[in-house]
């Protein structure tokens, strides 16, 4: 009698070599996605008109992140994509190497200390390199409050000091037992906390548009060229005035264009005025080429909308996952007694007399 399908992954739980192997394999998939996505976007990206046809209108997703980190030309992008794919391949091989069985016991508090120290060094280094301009990047001014470089320098310093502390001081016995520090599932449970916390924060800030000074025009459409066409000309700013020259939309209002292709042109008939008023609400007025991509006028959700929805959903799932694995960790003795003959266990419990371990049910 094999395991039911929803428990098959438990085979790696008491086998740390295989547990490590599956995590490395996951990393290989993540890096492989990043490299493949970058390759695809580079293949379809049109950099010829950054003003009227920027990357965000073409539905690019990872290229903006690469640009933010200092990749400004295509050679940089191709090498980043290639590096991720090579790394993914190496992780794949490492995962296969680690797929060996054994029952070592791991000193988890020591591992935590080592990892925290190394992460502190890497975090500090990232901040420092962006101050000194190793990646030749503007926008990383260390004296900007809440800035990226300054944060990483501060957090990295904290990580190094805390890592050294945890390497020199063993955990208290009360905390070791209370948090089950000898059981790897406690690591899983607390890691899930970090993930869902980050997901909630990031979903909220992207929703509110606070992250990286995003403007509301990014909230429009995904591959926006597919919706309303490739912008080929700017019509100009519409200025709405009433007949006394006041810029308020009351009764009789005219629209006059300032700058762009309609510069100086004005309309006073209500239908035209309202049309340009409506267009002005959505953003700047553009002359649009609808033929090239056969743009269909269908509103597509923006990258920002998908980001918020996806991250909020995953954050909720990961919160449940934390409760699940935390409960499994803390009540392992109860879970541990579940055997394949599940129905009898669930209905009548692990002990035949409630809370009396001497009456433990014997497996037939």
């Amino acid at each position: 009698m094999g395991l039911p399908w929803y428990r098959v992954h438990t085979v790696v739980l008491n086998d740390l070599g295989r547990l490590l192997s599956v995590h490395i394999m996951h990393t290989a998939l993540v890096a492989g996605w990043a490299g493949s996505m970058a390759l695809y976007e580079l293949a379809v990206f049109d950099p010829s008109d950054p003003v009227l046809n920027p990357m965000w209108r073409q539905g690019m997703f990872v290229i903006p992140f690469m640009t933010c980190l200092g990749i400004t030309n295509s050679w940089g992008s191709w090498s980043v994509a290639g590096a991720h794919i090579v790394f993914s391949g190496l992780c794949f091989l490492a995962a296969i190497w680690h797929w060996r069985t054994g029952k070592p016991s791991l000193d988890l508090p020591k591992i935590f200390g080592i990892h925290l120290f190394l992460l502190g060094v890497a975090c500090f280094g990232f901040g420092a390199f962006h101050v000194t301009g190793l990646y030749d990047m503007e926008g990383f001014d260390p004296f900007v409050p809440g800035g990226i470089a300054s944060h990483h320098i501060a957090a990295g310093t904290l990580g190094i000091l805390a890592g050294l502390f945890h390497l020199s001081v063993r955990p208290p016995q009360r905390l070791y037992k209370g948090l089950r520090m000898g059981n790897i599932e406690t690591v899983l449970s607390s890691s899930i906390v970090a993930v869902f916390f980050a997901a909630f924060v990031v979903a909220g800030t992207i929703y509110a548009g606070l992250a990286k000074n995003q403007s509301l025009s990014e909230a429009r459409a995904g591959s926006m060229d597919n919706k309303d066409g490739i912008a080929v000309g700017w019509l100009g700013h519409p200025i709405f005035r009433d007949k006394d020259g006041r810029e308020l939309f009351i009764l009789s209002v005219t629209v006059e264009f300032y700058g762009g292709e309609f510069n100086g042109v004005s309309y006073s008939d209500p239908a035209t005025v309202k049309k340009y008023a409506r267009h002005a609400q959505l953003g700047e007025n553009f002359e649009l080429d609808r033929a090239t991509l056969k743009s269909d006028g269908v509103f597509r959700s923006s990258p920002r909308g998908w980001f918020t929805f996806g991250h909020a959903s995953f954050a909720l799932l990961f919160f449940f996952g934390h409760i699940w694995h935390g409960a499994r960790t803390l009540f392992r003795d109860v879970f541990f007694d579940i055997d394949p003959d599940l129905d009898a266990q669930v209905e009548f419990g692990a002990f035949q007399k409630l809370r009396d371990p001497t009456t433990r049910r014997q497996v037939v």
């Binding site: 000193d107 063993r170 208290p172 016995q173 009360r174």
Partner: protein, 70 residues
């Protein structure tokens, strides 16, 4: 599981393994009773205060002369 070239006397020994062995030799070692838990509590409280301060600076709920949020 039998590894290549093993006798039954325990896990396989390698040069890298011998270098790394001290790092994985203290499994289960703890400090007695509550140890440094009170210190941890103080550090956590300070960290919460730190995060609240930087959040409220960034949110302009705390205004400082030398820092402007434009």
């Amino acid at each position: 599981m039998m590894y290549k070239g093993s006798s039954r006397s325990g896990p396989r020994q390698t040069i890298v393994g011998d270098f790394l062995k001290p790092l994985n030799s203290k499994y289960g070692k703890v400090a007695p009773r509550w140890g440094t838990t009170p210190l941890m509590g103080v550090v956590m409280a300070l960290f919460v205060m730190f995060l609240s301060i930087i959040l409220e600076i960034y949110n302009s709920s705390v205004l400082l002369d030398r820092i402007s949020m434009n």
